[in-house]
Symmetry: C2
Subunit: 449 residues, 2 copies
């Protein structure tokens, strides 16, 4: 296993050299036996007719089932390794899959093993996460399953390695290990690892099974769910990729114990997003419980993750390929991506850029007269409580924003569509029908001319 | 537009320098208007339950509809630009699409324009095909449609450029041109261009529309139909890619007029394949008409292309993701890929390697006692008539074959499955259940120890 890493390494990955930390652990080869499970084909299935409404649905229209219909605070015995996980189902017909949420889930090998088809597994992880959890995951994959062979590939940590050169290391490892179509890829890490491993799984031999084991709040509440995978291009984020669903998502909330504070806060930007776009009661819960979240209260976190996954699963079930509704999950992301691309990966975390981007989207919504001033104030207040930025970096210019936003995936026939709040708390629109003057005013209010 | 190319350039592409011939034609920017068509979403749909039988179905079970139920020789007025094309439908539910086949189809702009959604088009072609057909295609895309803008990217010609570095040129061009999700990619060229453009379309912004305009026999009878896209890895062919269906396939048989003889023969290897695996009457027709095909008789070619597309469409409709039946289309390809990978791209064409590989698969089938000697003789005879090789290059060793075949996509849990003939002409099996001794004997009979 590669370079030792501390729990603070992820927040300072800009110091990692790009070439030499791509550690292909060719000796990390574990061999055990396993009762081979039948291969489950991944034929595409119909998805529901799309709804372009993005206000929060009433409770009775919830499309998500959770095995424990839990009150706001549910976890009581986190140390038990036999704890029954909370399960949120992502409903996509034949491609439906469960999200398991709970404490100590990596100590329950059956949860992972029931989703492994074939005898070969490739774990894709990074230099920060590997020393912390790789052995544990390999054990969970193989204990009692002596037929299973596990390979691993350890990538350098950080958004700036989410590129084609690094992705090729995954293909190299898979091909050199002679993995075949019945193998399973396992993403162990944050959003970057999940996105890259997922895209590699979508493309290797034109598609193999994969499993998400997210270890950051960002990945647990957002990026590991819903099948968006991909890599960055030097001109913009996530411009190359695939919609490709995992076999399951396993969220062991204990992995947050090793997460740096800044990473934790970054993930909360996405939690706050769900409240703003479609779930006002969740936003109100966050306003009351932000202190508990910031102090890593496990019960509060378990609830925040579950509720976030439910929101995401509902949206993805209705609009897997982002024809409309799903785009609302990108509140603040168009402004945020411009910050990440212009400022350079490694300075700000994704959630930090999204936080500043959310403030800008909310500002623009207010300038358009679509929301009350009280919402502007509440958004600023909750982001500050989460210790997230509420303005872009000082170096940002209006032209930087415009240049990156022009290649955003939400541009259609040359028209930039944005997610903006409209109406009472918990309601938004995804639209290209707005006064360009409001966008210009927001850009000038938050960045240099 | 880039370097001039002669009609014989494709057969000698090993002389093209990899770096300098990647010509990004940034000035090739055509601007016209077009009535914007509604965006058609590409939601996945159910595919049929799979049949693992691979003998030829009886006529009454044909899944393919063709608008002209044509006798063996159909085309009579090839010079008319208003000729009604033959249409073969690929039946994949919501993702179904037509294959248009006929003479002069590039002079019928409506055929292409009805499948263009959005206002932006990127034509992906190569240095050989661009000087011959790019202007014609741009005209067909834009005449009478002044809203449409066409960009183009001209790649170097040859299998050895079917790699990630060259693919990135397509992404670079698409992103620099600020294409958005409503754009359409058009593949103009042979199998390499179709595979690369298709994979680029599958991955750009997680998927945009694309159209295939195949200009070689190989692409017209096989690679442009069915949605297999991808690139090579230095360790093997087509190891990275996606299943991704086009909006339509447009086959203008007039493009064969500029195809070198060797390329023409290469495509016939796949035509012969359809007869062997599932269509004995077609094989018998080929035995009678090979001389007409070799002398480029347009009527014979129109029929061979139509019948090949019907066979391919039937198989793909039943098994889009290659769970079983579809693998039978790879008769001779496992041996052939080993030749291409070991011998180096650019020496032999794909169909040449497939021809030698087919002889090896037939030899092994005979050694297993699965077919009569008469089939062995007929296969050798028809391939020789088509001026295709019936033995691998002399440099091939048994170990070269074994090494490449070990990473073949048809390996499952370590077991190599092969397509072998079994029974009367027109019947085959896809199986890992064969005597290893027969494989060894075939490898030793056709290559050095």
């Amino acid at each position: 296993m590669a370079a030792a890493a501390t729990t603070t390494a992820t927040a300072s990955y800009s110091t990692i050299s790009p070439k030499h930390n791509v550690s292909l652990s060719t000796n990390n080869h574990h061999h055990f036996n396993k009762n081979a499970l039948g291969f489950v084909s991944e034929n595409p299935i119909p998805i529901r007719s799309l709804s372009l409404s993005c206000s929060r649905p009433a409770k009775h229209s919830m499309k998500v089932s959770a095995t424990s219909a839990a009150p706001p605070v549910i976890e009581t015995s986190k140390s038990s390794s036999d704890e029954v996980p909370t399960v949120v189902d992502v409903d996509l017909g034949d491609r439906s899959y469960p999200i398991y949420i709970g404490s100590g889930l990596l100590n329950q090998p059956d949860l992972l093993q029931r989703h492994i088809h074939g005898k070969r597994v490739l774990v894709v992880t990074n230099t920060t996460v590997a020393p912390l959890y790789l052995d544990k995951v390999v054990h969970a994959l193989t204990v009692g399953n002596p037929n299973v062979t596990v390979e691993s590939v350890i990538l350098p940590d950080g958004e700036k390695y989410k590129d084609m050169d690094t992705l090729m290391k995954v293909f190299d490892k898979a091909i050199e290990s002679r993995l075949d179509r019945r193998c399973t890829f396992v993403a162990l890490g944050g959003g970057v690892i999940g996105d890259m491993c997922g895209y590699a799984a979508a493309s290797f031999l034109r598609g193999v099974n994969f499993i998400q084991i997210p270890t950051t709040v960002m990945a647990q509440v957002d990026s590991s769910v819903g099948g968006k995978t991909g890599i960055n291009h030097r001109l913009g984020k996530n411009l190359i990729g695939a919609f490709y669903q995992p076999q399951c998502v396993l969220i062991d909330t204990d992995t947050l114990n090793t997460l740096p504070d800044r990473e934790l806060a970054s993930g909360l930007a996405e939690v706050i997003k769900y409240g703003l776009i479609r779930d006002a009661p969740f936003f109100e819960w966050q306003e009351k419980n932000m202190q508990a979240l910031m102090s890593r209260d496990p019960d509060a976190f378990a609830y925040a993750i579950k509720r976030s996954c439910e929101n995401k699963a509902e949206v993805v079930s209705q609009d897997e390929k982002e024809s409309g509704l799903r785009a609302t999950l990108n509140l603040g992301h168009t402004f945020g991506h411009a910050i990440e691309t212009s400022y350079g990966y490694g300075h700000w975390l994704h959630g930090e850029a999204v936080a500043a981007g959310t403030v800008m989207a909310v500002d623009m919504s207010y300038r358009l007269g679509w929301i009350d001033e009280s919402i502007v104030k509440r958004v600023n207040s909750i982001l500050k409580q989460a210790k997230l930025p509420t303005t872009p970096p000082e170096m940002m210019t209006v032209d930087m924003f415009k240049s990156v936003m022009a290649v955003d995936k939400k541009v259609a026939d040359g028209l930039l569509r944005l997610i903006l709040l409209k109406g009472p708390l918990g309601n938004c629109v995804f639209t290209g029908d707005y006064d360009r003057k409001a966008l210009d005013e927001t850009l000038h209010a938050f960045s240099k001319s």
